[in-house]
């Protein structure tokens, strides 16, 4: 019987940069991003896919970084909050969150922004209920959610007005 495979080599793009790494097969994606690549903007809240704090973008879709293994991201294109921030694609959301204080401790915030951006990419004019529904996989203990909904709705109106 062969020894179990402990490590694997993966090649992927992270925030536009080519990454090649040897990772333990049991390491999940968010631990790899945080610990191996120093991308600490993605957070770990529950490690069982409920709180949403580890949300990252994998090949254009938002996913739970704690429910994916790093090896599953082999040959994928990953975007984290650091990449989304630097590209400017979520600048309007960031500004609205700031203006309305749609964050307190900020631990859920990077994932909340990536989730809200995914919603607005699909639906440029969501209702408040649709915003709440879309964000209901992201736990925020501080704000009570209202300011977050307000901020997303404000950006949606601007997007809609421009369209």
């Amino acid at each position: 019987m062969n020894e179990p495979v402990k490590n694997m080599r993966i090649i992927l793009r992270v925030n536009g940069e080519a990454v090649e790494a040897e990772v333990p097969v049991r390491r999940n994606l968010v631990d790899f991003l945080r610990g191996d690549l120093g991308l600490t903007g993605s957070h770990v809240g529950c490690e069982h896919g409920v709180c949403g704090a580890c949300t990252v973008v994998v090949d254009g879709a938002i996913m739970r970084g704690c429910l994916l293994l790093a090896v599953q991201a082999d040959r994928c294109d990953i975007e984290t909050i650091e990449g989304a921030d630097e590209s400017g694609r979520i600048a309007a959301l960031q500004a609205a969150f700031h203006r309305r204080n749609a964050l307190q401790c900020g631990f859920c915030t990077p994932a909340m922004l990536l989730t809200a951006a995914a919603l607005l990419a699909q639906n440029g004019n969501p209702t408040r209920d649709e915003i709440r529904e879309c964000l209901s996989g992201n736990f925020c203990r501080c704000t009570g959610y209202q300011a977050i909904v307000d901020a997303v709705a404000e950006v949606a109106e601007v997007v809609e007005a421009k369209a």
Binding site: P24, R26, R27, R34, L39, T40, G41, S42, H43, V44, G45, C46, E47, H48, V50, C51, A53, T80, I81, E82, A84, D85, Q94, F97, H98, R99, R100, N101, L103, Q104, C105, G106, F107, C108, T109, P110, L113, R128, D129, I131, R132, E133, L135, S136, G137, N138, F139, C140, R141, C142, T143, G144, Y145, Q146, A147, I148, V149
Partner: protein
């Protein structure tokens, strides 16, 4: 007194920009050279003797550096007891960093493994063999205080930790003479703070310099500095506690935890940095929990609706140990002091019993005891009004303390300055047309829609004074200090003893300094959360930041302003009184004409001090200090109104409206205050409808994940309207009271009353929290 902008403006927070860019620095984001990771073997049993620990195989696992038991740490870290000098009769057992002979709750840490990585540390914990001998489990307070119950701490000779009784007037006679007496038994099941970022720390002990630096997700760095110095026998000036960005705290991060103490002791033992981050299961098993009270309460009324007497019996427990250093007594103590507080009543009796039993420690989480006192009081008022056939709003109006009754010391011993109960109710009824609501409620009932309204009036005890912990013998600062430093370029560095876990107190203090000195917001940079750099303060807990740290900032700002004007006066050959600082420049106080920039003053102060005559106060680094006098608490007050529908087929509750009217005195930043209230309400709704630790009959926790411990998510939560009255306290110049508890305090009571109002056609009466669909359906007789 009117204060200059930006005090009172809704301004966004500087810190938020960093967090929005993913550039926050939480403790688990920090890596130190040679850092080890800690994982624990925890007791799988609620109560068991630890007979033998065999770690031979575990020690040989890859990456393992050291395996530690209680015996290994005995010479490194002292034990502690969660006593409180104000409650000398309270008994508290000795607690150690790792359990030694006996584990007394499921999840208590017994063995610690330090390894190169967390994964390797966890691998090794699975190979540690512990020979457990199960012991009988005490799972509820009633059983724990029964005659047959064995003592879970033999040294205490019984499980009764604390008993207190307050009595004023002639309660029995008042009940005997009453027109109507209502009585209920309330159950408040157990929940906790559930900060999204779990507890965590990196302890970094340097044996060469005998220095300890702890990076910790915590609310109170100075408190921890003192504790670590004493428990590890390190000179306090060598201990530094740094709280980086903290991902939510809500009271659960202002304690000493045994597992965290173990990590720090491990660093001292190993001479290397040690990181410990609780995972979610460890958080649920080990974070301080709250509530778990059974309150039996009755209220006596006259025919007109006057409240004649109140009788309260609260039974709760501390879990297996009294939390340290504050003790676990406060939740029960707050309940017996706060019941009935908004109302005129002469005859009052309240008693509390606290037990020890085999559950994790229970203590201070946001709004300690308050939601229970509020829900009990306000539900009894609704029940009384119903029995009397009176409008519950009219009963409240009649019985609320009036301006002419105040100042007053309540029967529970709380000094009230100028509460605005009537004003809050008036404001609420300006927003909610109660007659239209009742008419709509009747129409909806005909269609099978069950809509209810619930009112909850409360007092929230904010900004605890130094007497509470000072007399208690705990080293917990209730004074606040603010240090300001005018830089040579004219900008101001501010260091505060308060800490910011997202509330925005950094911004509030920045506004106070900018407003008092007379400079733009951007010219002030606030630093907090470092026990070495920041002047001594209490951190953040108990709604204290604005009231205490804000006042200290005001005093520091005045001193700096005065010294700047002193120097400018010398330079301009004018009296300092004729000058003012506006927009960051020294101006003529009358004409407003600009004389000079602050940088010009600072340049002289820093580099040409010889031009300032002796005797002119010209320090450009100043300290302001504030400690309240002769008051234990600074009570604020408010009112919640919930309007909601209850589905009688599913038992689900859906909010239609939620309104809060609160009076926290002077408001530094309305937007941040509103957001504090909203977040608090949603946390309170969690306790009212969803959040509950479920234990089986043998004392085992059944829901240790976020998938089955339900927290409020965006889809179920209402928009929350927030209104303020501003009755500044006269005990400080700024006049601010606290607001952190206000959202949470009233939510359980408002939701309870609204659900019972919605279902009033069914002779429905539910008073067990949370009000889950199964409980609602059972009370309706549907399941």
């Amino acid at each position: 007194m009117k204060f200059q902008a930006p005090i009172g403006l809704s301004l966004p927070r500087d810190r938020a920009k960093r967090l929005l860019a993913g550039r926050g620095q939480f403790v688990d984001d920090i890596q130190l050279p040679r850092m080890l990771h800690l994982a624990f073997v925890r007791s799988p049993y609620p109560h068991a003797r630890i007979a033998v620990i065999d770690a031979v195989e575990a020690a040989a696992m890859p990456g393992v550096v050291r395996i530690m038991t209680g015996a290994d740490l005995a010479g490194v870290v002292s034990s502690w007891r969660g006593t409180h000098g104000l409650f000398p009769d309270m008994k508290a057992p000795e607690q150690t960093a790792l359990a030694t002979d006996t584990a007394r709750w499921q999840g208590e840490a017994v063995v610690a493994v330090a390894a190169r990585s967390r994964a390797e540390a966890e691998d090794a914990t699975e190979q540690v063999i512990v020979d457990w001998e199960e012991l009988p489990v005490l799972g509820d307070a009633q059983t724990a205080l029964g005659d047959a119950a064995p003592s879970i701490h033999a040294e205490l000779g019984g499980n009764l930790a604390f008993f207190a009784e307050i009595e004023q007037g002639d309660v029995e006679t008042a009940f005997g003479d009453a027109h109507v007496v209502v009585e209920r038994r309330f159950r408040f099941n157990r929940h906790t703070g559930v900060s999204l970022e779990p507890r965590g720390l990196i302890a970094d002990y340097d044996p060469a310099s005998h220095r300890l630096t702890v990076h910790q997700s915590h609310q109170t760095p100075h408190q921890q500095q003192d504790l670590y110095a004493r428990l590890l026998n390190i000179p306090e000036q060598n201990v530094r506690v740094i709280c980086p960005d903290v991902g939510g705290a809500f009271g659960l991060k202002h304690h000493l935890y045994a597992d965290e103490m173990t990590a720090i002791a491990a660093s001292k033992l190993l001479g290397r940095p040690v990181k410990y981050i609780a995972d979610r299961l460890e958080s649920f098993l080990g974070d301080i929990h709250c509530r778990d009270h059974t309150v039996t309460a009755r209220m006596a009324f006259s025919a007109e609706g006057d409240i004649l007497a109140i009788d309260i019996d609260d039974l709760f427990h501390a879990g297996a140990y009294s939390q340290y250093p504050r003790s676990s007594v406060a939740e029960g103590n707050q309940i017996i002091r706060l019941c009935g507080i908004p109302y005129r009543h002469e005859h009052y009796r309240a008693k509390v019993r606290m037990a020890y039993l085999n559950k994790s420690p229970l203590g201070h989480i946001r709004s300690v005891g308050h939601p229970i006192a509020c829900a009990v009081t306000e539900h009894l008022v609704d029940l009384g009004a119903k029995r009397l056939g009176l409008d519950p709003i009219a009963v409240r109006r009649r019985a609320y303390l009036r301006d002419e009754d105040c100042p007053i010391v309540s029967p529970g011993g709380i000094a009230l300055e100028r509460p605005s109960f009537h004003g809050c109710l008036d404001r609420a009824l300006e927003r909610i047309d109660i007659d239209a609501f009742r008419a709509e409620q009747a129409r909806l009932r005909e269609r099978g829609v069950h809509r209810g309204i619930g009112f909850a009036t409360f007092v929230d005890l904010t900004a605890i004074g130094p007497e509470y912990y000072g007399e208690g013998g705990q080293h917990i600062s209730a004074q606040e200090t603010c240090l300001l430093r005018l830089e040579a370029s004219g900008g101001i560095r501010c260091y505060t003893g308060a800490t910011d876990q997202g509330q925005g107190i950094d911004t509030g203090i920045q506004q106070v300094v900018a407003g008092i000195v007379g400079v733009p917001m951007d010219d002030v940079k606030v630093n907090s959360g470092d026990s070495e750099l920041c002047p001594v303060g209490g951190g953040s807990w108990g709604s204290r930041g604005a009231a205490l740290a804000g006042e200290a900032a005001l005093r520091a700002g005045r001193k700096l302003r005065l010294n700047i004007l002193n120097i400018a006066g010398v330079l301009l050959q004018k009296s300092a009184n004729s000058l003012d600082i506006r927009g960051g420049s020294v101006v003529d106080a009358v004409s407003g004409a600009t004389h000079m920039a602050l940088s010009e003053v600072a340049e002289v102060g820093h580099f040409k001090p010889y031009t300032i005559p002796d005797g002119v106060a010209a320090d450009l680094t100043v300290i302001g200090r504030y400690a309240s006098r002769n008051r234990m608490f600074l009570p604020a007050n408010g009112l919640h109104v919930a309007i909601l529908d209850v589905d009688t087929d599913t038992g689900l509750v859906e909010f239609r409206r939620y309104l809060v009217v609160h009076d926290c005195g002077r408001i530094l930043n309305p937007m941040l205050v509103d957001e504090q209230v909203r977040g608090g309400v949603v946390q309170g709704i969690g306790g009212a409808l969803y959040e509950e630790f479920i234990y089986d009959d043998d004392g085992y926790l059944r829901n240790g994940t976020l998938a089955d411990y339900l927290v409020p998510m965006a889809a179920e939560m209402p928009d929350i309207e927030v209104e303020h009255l501003q009755t500044p306290t006269t005990t400080s110049e700024l006049g601010a009271k606290g607001v952190g508890e206000a959202g949470t305090t009233g939510a359980m009571g408002a939701v309870l009353n609204a659900v019972n109002d919605a279902l009033s056609p069914f002779e429905f009466n539910l008073s067990e929290f949370p009000l889950t669909p199964p409980r609602i359906l059972r009370t309706l007789g549907k399941i």
